[in-house]
């Protein structure tokens, strides 16, 4: 009986898709990032984490965009200081099991992998052995839309790939082979510009090779409430993520939840009470 109860509960919980609050961090401080090329200052990490917890975000994604091949030692300390209980995902500079252990001790539950997801899949397997595939997310920064979806040029160069536009089947195979539970698809050039998401064309249905990925997708970059609501109706979507807009208005995530009802996707997400 008890097992049945827990099975039902987990089914109910799984039915919900997540609204993720993203905190881009550079040099130990929160920034408003625009296409990862230009940043504006946006305060300290602790208050940003606590704020998203107060807003009842389903999950918080702390994304260090400093482009350093290491974990900023200040970040785990700041996470501990914040004392938040909301599920916390961390991305940026993770290279080895030591990094993950440090972040686990600080209170992170899941990890976004980007560099090693492309150029060292064996390390991803090591991490999966340590924390399980359910705790790992692969990051996929893309530009263009539909059939012309391409890995962002910066990353293509960094990973030693000859052409800007990669073979979609290669990307798809890589994502499917990795022991990760979800893929964070980032509209790289549109990140920070609300309402400019362009990966799937205007009708949001030109998914191209992304439909062949057999993992759940977290969409991030240039989303608005309306676009995110429409993406939530896609069965492949497991979460939608918002970054800069969280700095601009009070209760921004709550307002976004409110907009989902217009797109008929409100039933996909929780409606938590405000404190």
């Amino acid at each position: 009986m008890e097992e049945l109860y827990f099975a039902m509960c987990s089914k109910i919980i799984m039915a919900y898709k997540r609204l993720v609050g993203v905190i881009p961090v550079k040099d130990g401080r929160v920034v408003k990032s625009y296409g990862y090329k230009f940043c504006r200052p946006a305060g300290d990490v602790v208050s940003a984490l606590r704020n998203l917890e107060r807003w009842n975000a389903d999950e918080i994604l702390l994304l260090d965009i400093s482009r350093q091949a290491r974990i900023d030692p200040a970040i785990p300390m700041l996470i501990k200081k914040s004392g938040i209980a909301t599920p916390l995902t961390y991305g940026g500079g993770i290279r080895c099991t030591n990094d993950v252990n440090t972040l686990l001790a600080a209170g992170c539950e899941r990890f976004v992998l980007e560099t090693i997801a492309f150029n060292a899949p064996e390390k991803v397997k090591e991490l999966a052995d340590l924390v399980g595939a359910q705790a790992l997310i692969a990051s996929l920064p893309l530009t263009g839309f539909g059939a012309s979806l391409a890995l962002e040029q910066y990353y293509a160069k960094r990973f030693g790939l000859a052409h800007e536009v990669l073979d979609p089947s290669l990307i798809c195979r890589r994502m499917n082979e990795l022991p990760v539970s979800e893929v964070l698809v980032i509209a790289f050039n549109r990140e920070g510009y609300s309402g400019s998401f362009n990966l799937l064309g205007n009708d949001l249905c030109e998914k191209g090779f992304l439909s062949d990925i057999n993992k759940g997708i977290i969409w991030f970059g240039g989303l608005s409430g309306n676009i995110a609501g429409r993406l939530l109706n896609d069965p492949q979507t497991t979460a939608v993520a918002f970054g800069n807009s969280n700095n601009e208005k009070e209760l921004a995530l709550t307002a976004i939840r409110g907009e989902f009802s217009r797109t008929g996707s409100a039933h996909h997400v929780r409606r938590p009470l405000l404190r």
Binding site: K26, D27, G28, R29, V30, V31, K32, F38, C39, R40, P41, A42, G43, D44, V46, S47, A48, R50, N51, R54, W55, D72, P73, A74, M77, N246, N247, E248, K249, E250, L251, T254, L273, L274, R275
Partner: protein
């Protein structure tokens, strides 16, 4: 522990990446503050003001309060005459003016507040925290954050919002968003609004009132009760939003202050450690103990903020500004410092010890005789039509500008 980056200065203004709010640069070396400032000349401000008119008209139509349309926080500086004029006369709103008592009021600040009430025929609600508790909080914030301003900022930013909640007034109108004006946190087109997070991170230096409560200190829950921010469910229930006028008007404190002096008879006065006779003249501690602490903590003082604004508006060159920065940052705090220390129960020796703990010590400055004619004429271009800020050196004033001695004489 925050990662320390190599020091980098903006190619246009005097700010560096050591600014406590954080500062970023574009590929040409221009800081985010200057990039945002450039929007003051590039945006269509007539269109933006029409956006504001639409927004406030909607509030007036749907307001819940039978009388007031908005809460308008003010201070006793000339700039706020302009703010009230915009809200009351140009937008046609009926504001409830609120002011949180800093308890270190200058005579000039009190007179300006009174004048705002008389000129614009508005109601003013002034809140004064228990002075004993206030002193306790000033001591605590000095120890924990090397700042004496925390209690005032906490009260100044929570009192208007609580007033809006209690009186069911749907809008709070702030003049400007300091992180946007100084370091360009937002573009004006993003139309940032008041938020608890911005308050906690920038205004309160990352420390919310609840965190002040500690068994190691004498601060208890009742001491910070009136400094807390309303809960989110209260803001949502009353549909309260807080907007910044600077998103809809090209914000220029100097021009607005001079206009207020000319049109409404606002008072300006000489302040210590700066040339700006309009900025923070309502508070006798701002340019004394607070400014010294600011320099000792961050390596720059308020005059740098004033100069960066003037550089961005093209009213002074960077080279001239650097000389003035050096001249004013080395100035003494004036007589107000001793009065403040008496009030706080702190000796000069203790203050010296306190400053030695902080990273920046002021050394080397240029004298007044070394300033050029152009620099002197820039300084003299600021209007002075009132008494000096430190003309009244008593920190607690009773009633309208009556100081302790006057009250005793009356009794």
């Amino acid at each position: 522990m925050i990662s320390i980056q190599p020091k980098r200065e903006c190619r246009q203004c005097l700010y560096t990446n050591r600014h406590p709010f954080g500062l970023h640069f574009d590929e040409t070396g221009l800081c985010t503050g200057c990039i945002t400032h450039a929007e003051k000349t590039s945006l269509n401000w007539d269109y933006r003001f029409r956006l504001l008119e639409k927004k406030t008209a909607r509030i007036r139509r749907n307001k819940h309060s039978p009388y007031y349309d908005c809460v308008l926080p003010v201070r006793g500086t000339p700039e706020y005459f302009f703010v009230v004029d915009v809200v009351k006369n140009r937008l046609g709103m009926n504001p409830l003016i609120v002011s949180y008592n800093s308890q270190f009021n200058s005579g000039i600040g009190i007179k300006n507040l009174d004048r705002i009430r008389d000129v614009f025929d508005v109601d003013i609600l002034i809140y004064t925290s228990n002075p004993v508790t206030y002193r306790k909080l000033v001591r605590e914030s000095l120890i924990r954050m090397n700042s004496i301003r925390w209690p005032y900022i906490a009260g100044e930013t929570s009192f208007p919002v609580y007033t809006a909640v209690e009186r069911d007034i749907p809008m709070v109108i702030w003049p400007y968003h300091q992180p946007t004006e100084q370091v360009g946190m937002h573009s004006y087109e993003e139309e940032p609004e008041m938020s608890r997070r911005s308050r906690a991170s920038f205004d309160l230096m990352g420390l919310e009132p609840e965190e002040m409560i500690s068994s190691e200190t004498t601060i208890n829950e009742s001491d910070v009760y009136d400094l807390r921010y309303p809960a989110h469910y209260m803001l949502k229930r009353h549909r309260i939003t807080g907007i910044y006028l600077s998103n809809y008007l090209p914000w220029d404190p100097r021009r607005f202050s001079e206009e207020s002096i000319e049109r409404f008879g606002a008072l300006s006065g000489m302040n210590s450690r700066t040339f700006d006779t309009y900025d923070r003249i309502d508070d006798m501690t701002y340019m004394t103990i607070h400014d010294l602490l600011k320099y000792a903590k961050h390596g720059y003082s308020r005059v740098t903020d004033n100069l960066c604004r003037e550089i961005r508006f093209g009213r002074i060159t960077k080279d001239d500004a650097r000389d003035l920065q050096s001249f004013y940052q080395a100035q003494a705090a004036g007589p107000g410092l001793d009065v403040f220390l008496d009030w706080l129960g702190m000796t000069n020796e203790a203050l010296d010890w306190f400053f030695k703990r902080l990273p920046y010590q002021c050394n080397g400055a240029i004298g007044a005789s070394e300033l050029s004619v152009a620099q002197h004429s820039f300084v003299n271009s600021f209007v002075r039509n009132g008494p000096d800020v430190m003309a009244n050196d008593h920190f607690i004033l009773y009633g309208k500008g009556l100081d302790c001695n006057e009250v005793i004489n009356i009794i």
